[in-house]
Symmetry: C2
Subunit: 369 residues, 2 copies
């Protein structure tokens, strides 16, 4: 078990990374004296898979509130249903919410915790690789607005992030890969050794390894390292910039083009990690075109993502539309188009003056039409 | 002009108390470089009265978003309309919200500021005495849930509280009195000299003084002192307990019975200050019955409130129902019934074990049926 502290003064907390430890959460909550009543917020699928395992660790069974599964239910209406449920069960300021699920549940349950009775305690229990290495850490909570994802939200830190890496073994291959894109991102922005470690182990980072018990055990050891190292890097960045005023923007490496592609394809053709994978290659190519980055690193990044089964080309998407989507983002957030560009492994710079023609050239190189 | 600092580390801010200074807000915002765009949230009546005065101080006219007037519009639906409006105008993380109005507008606009794009800057410009001395200070924001007032909200501090005491001269007498109840509260819980000052000046604290220009000017000087002293006391309490974990509860002096009376009469028969006035006398009588407080202080408190025109008796309300309403509150907040009881002027104690028979006796003394 690894314990990673996120240092945020009176809002500090631990990220606990274990394996097969889901049933131990109850004991932790009891020993830390968190919450007089406990409420689990989850979705039906996750509840079926892990709900009982979590609940059995508690002496007094927590109440469970289910919300429908899927990003489109991450909205104020569903948040209101959760407020109603909490009020009906008499949840109060001493109650504790356990967010059990992937990023959607984490954002939604975190937002409800942030705003129920002006903020009650909550714990993130992320069940996907993507949420374990990214969304569950750092206190970003929120729901979507018809006009803009995550437009309504709060920065609100959990009391703990409690991770069971054994859950990774149950994920579909594509869900595993989407998390890996963010893992690779950490290597590029902050840790060259971690990047090399990923290069060396890439052939083990897939669902094949879970097919028999021996390789599964070895694989989960490897995953524990990967999740812990990722969490460490994310924690370090969050500590320095809790409210995303500056540095934390480096976590958006790959997300500028990535987000444009996601919204252009209406969040259907690519999942988040796939879009980020393409976006990272795009950012690296842009950096290389601007002579900030050696082409060698671009090649290594592309090779690693390829090996992990993530997309690194833009099959047939029209470059003009991607660039137009960048500008819509720009309008929505009222600012400039920021690019996080690597100068070498573990060193990135933020540029808001990248010319669109350079962006287009990079996207053309990647097969964009 | 008085400037009172609220010390909350990186969330510190000033309360600025001036007179006829509403048109100077634009200059302050400019010199402090707050907000790239400015949005005023207000209601139609306040907008008619003061909107232009505020707007004319800005070089670039702020956009104004109006919400219907009244507590029943302090809900998530109206908050959503505000999110929509902000999004439509392209408000972003660098935008600034000015909350221009009484407590309802302050709570609502503060909540929207707390949750739009995970929190943007806002300034409280309270236009009623009640909001100037109480609601605008301390970062409590929120909206009502059908089951419970202010159930959905956040602690989110403004960048400044900007007060123009001259607005007090335009308030109806009853609106003035509701604010005075909270002013008297500050004297009782924290400052005996301030209480004596109120006793000495009580005969000036009414709308009569505003009827001609000479007495108006003198009265506004007096009000400036009263608002500043009240703000100082509130700021001091908030500094010690930002998130209402303990000490801040003393601000609920008079609010236990007060809230029971408000909800029993469905927020119609009494306004907030009137209910708190009755609640303060009830709390003082309870304290006296428990031999915590000399009867002399009970008498002085009642005399001061009487002189200010606030109710100190419970005409014909059934005592049993008031006590039952206390228990409903208890169930809703999942805790015990806390009473803030004075031991002498400027010294209160919190008790959660007051017997209901003592409460009933105190209420009977006050004319309850």
């Amino acid at each position: 078990m690894a314990k990673i502290k996120v240092e945020l003064k009176d809002r500090s907390y631990d990220i606990i990374v274990g394996c097969d430890n889901l049933s131990e959460l109850g004991e932790l909550v009891r020993s830390e004296k968190w919450g007089r009543d406990v409420f689990i917020i989850t979705d039906p699928l996750v509840n079926d898979l892990y709900g009982d395992l979590v609940r059995k660790g508690f002496k007094t069974k927590p109440k469970t509130l289910e919300v429908p599964r899927g990003e489109r239910f991450k909205n104020l209406r569903v948040a209101e249903k959760l407020y109603d449920g909490l009020a009906r069960y008499g949840a109060h300021r001493d109650s504790l919410i356990i967010s059990l699920g992937g990023g959607v549940i984490g954002d939604l349950a975190g937002f409800v915790a942030a705003t129920y009775m002006r903020g009650i305690d909550y714990i993130q229990v992320p069940t996907t690789l993507l949420s374990q290495v990214d969304a569950s850490i750092g206190g970003k909570t929120g729901v979507n607005h018809p006009k803009c994802k995550n437009m309504i939200g709060a920065f609100y830190q959990p009391k703990a992030v409690f991770i069971d890496v054994s859950l990774i073994a149950t994920l579909p291959a594509r869900e595993l890969r989407t998390g890996l894109a963010e893992v690779v991102k950490y290597g590029v922005i902050e840790d060259a050794d971690f990047f090399k470690f990923l290069e060396a182990n890439a052939h083990h980072l897939n669902t094949k390894a879970f097919e028999n018990e021996d390789t599964k055990r070895a694989a989960l050891k490897l995953w524990q390292t990967i999740v812990s190292e990722s969490a460490k890097i994310k924690a370090k960045v969050v500590e320095k910039d809790e409210r995303e005023a500056g540095l934390r923007m480096i976590l958006n490496f790959g997300h500028t083009v990535g987000h444009a592609i996601e919204s252009l394809t209406r969040y259907r053709a690519y999942n988040h990690g796939e879009a980020v994978s393409i976006g990272m290659v795009a950012a690296a190519r842009i950096a290389s075109r601007l002579r900030l980055l050696e082409t060698d690193v671009v090649d290594r990044l592309k090779a690693l993502l390829d090996k992990l089964g993530l997309p690194t080309e833009i099959d047939s998407l029209p470059v003009d539309k991607i660039v137009a989507a960048l500008s819509i983002d720009k309008k929505v957030i009222g600012g400039k188009v920021n690019f996080v560009l690597p100068e070498k492994l573990a060193k990135v710079v933020i540029k808001d003056d990248v010319s669109l023609s350079v962006v287009k050239q990079a996207l053309n190189e990647m097969g964009g039409q």
